[in-house]
Symmetry: C2
Subunit: 293 residues, 2 copies
């Protein structure tokens, strides 16, 4: 509990995660682009810092929770970045969802500077962040993972050290690939049932117990039936993650014939102005196209 | 228990299903193209018939379990077909996996002849047929369903009346769409993990508890890791079902952008001579293509 924690990025996810760590007793220094969440976390006992560098100078462990790869790169290695303030032996934990390949480069650069890094992207959404029940997929060494584990236990429930540096981001990319592909399949099936004049709710029920059964059929299938597209997980964020999946697959030479059209459908959904709906709103594209026949 | 049952089509699925009905005490008349399974079921107490018509003449309820739509059409309405021998008030139950739209036509033709029909395709494979634990998706009226229910209870576990005539086949098509799409997504994710040098087994574990969790990730994901491609469910049968999905979607004007490449991958698997492997062998195509980079 002696570790001093820095937290950079107090967005929808970062703010409740930092508050949980504060409540668990960790002394904390914070920084974020937007002032109101910083005020709120400072009011709960954290110290305000004016730059990522100041956060790093005041911390043993610095957590970043940011939108995308360029944000993490800038906060770590930009002017007044984390890297310029980390003491030797310090630890950076990036919990954002970003490029696995860029992540390996960041870890290598920090290692050259005498610091350690874990990639630890999460799933479970705002609710999981507030409740402290996030799934956390971690890449790094066992020793560094063990050091960070007490913090992960405060923020999450299902915590897995997947492998070396980048493995957490790879697991997250795999997660988003499978979730996207399954949502699209369920959406097509329920649209087919409805078009055939069959009650899609009964089809969902009939399928749940067998090999077609999944968390997506259960949760997102029900959202589709209810047309309850308040997120949940926003389609535009899934699109961002879909780009990570396809960029990574391309760099590694792995074909993704099944996922490519899912990414295209997510792009269409965002282009149609539905990016702030839950990703289960993919079914609305199929319904539009069916109705157009 | 007074119902006399006819059973046509004693293949891998039909033979154990008929034997379970015999053991439950139903008097039975059988017919099948191939002699050995007929001999075996007759040895267990059934009566041999020389044509579908003879089966129908000796039965109150006639079950068909055949490979594809043209087979069912021929057995029901061809020369010496079931329709020519059914008494008024008799019931035909087609448990094959065939076209939902053709099914509605068959039911209508039988209705004109004073007989009833249920479509009742199954999932659960040979093991489910032997153990009497098949999932059965049924289309037809509640009254006719109630009449057939005691027989379904002998053959299956999860029995759902999905809707009117054809609804059972629609549910089965939806099932095969979702199963195929999920297998492809899991295969792409595990291939991506391996190509990134990450242990795919740990990725599977990390994903199982969250939104990416599914029966397919659990069972077929493990098959992929073990390269255990002994069926299970043969890829060439899934391809047949994929054609039913896409034909039905086309006739109904429903787009299936996510499923189209899955059907293409199943076709490639069969074209490469792997049609008798389990459908989880879809991952081998991705591995070949990755290796070719």
């Amino acid at each position: 509990m002696g570790e001093r924690v820095g937290f950079i990025g107090l967005g929808i996810m970062g703010k409740p995660m930092s508050l949980n760590l504060l409540r668990a007793g960790y002394p904390m220094t914070v920084h974020s682009r937007s002032a109101p969440p910083v005020d709120e976390v400072v009011a709960s006992g954290a110290t305000r810092a004016s730059s990522p560098r100041e956060v790093a100078e005041a911390s043993d462990i610095v957590i970043t929770m940011l939108p995308d790869t360029p944000d993490v790169e800038k906060v770590l290695f930009g002017d007044d970045g984390v890297a310029s303030g980390l003491a030797p032996g310090a630890l950076a934990i990036d919990m954002s969802t970003i490029s696995p390949i860029a992540t390996r480069g960041f870890a290598s650069q920090l290692s050259d500077a005498g610091a350690s890094m874990l990639d630890a992207p999460v799933s479970g959404g705002e609710k999981g962040a507030i409740d402290g029940t996030l799934s956390i997929m971690v890449g790094g060494t066992q020793e560094v993972f063990d050091r960070a584990k007490p913090l992960f236990d405060v923020m999450g429930g299902n915590i897995v050290l997947v492998g070396d540096s980048g493995a957490g981001q790879i697991a997250k990319a795999c997660n988003q690939l499978v979730v996207g592909g399954t949502i699209e399949a369920v959406a097509e099936a329920l649209t087919l049932a409805t078009a055939a004049g069959v009650d899609a709710a009964r089809v969902r029920e009939a399928l749940l117990g067998g090999f077609a059964g999944s968390k997506i059929l259960e949760v997102h299938g029900q959202r589709m039936l209810d047309e309850a597209f308040t997120p949940g997980f926003r389609a535009r964020l899934h699109l961002k993650d879909a780009h990570i999946v396809s960029d990574t697959a391309r760099e590694l030479g792995v074909p993704t014939p099944g996922f490519t059209p899912v990414e295209e459908e997510l792009q269409r959904l965002v282009d149609e102005g539905k990016g702030d709906l839950d990703h289960s709103a993919l079914i609305t594209l199929l319904q539009e196209d069916s109705a157009a026949e």
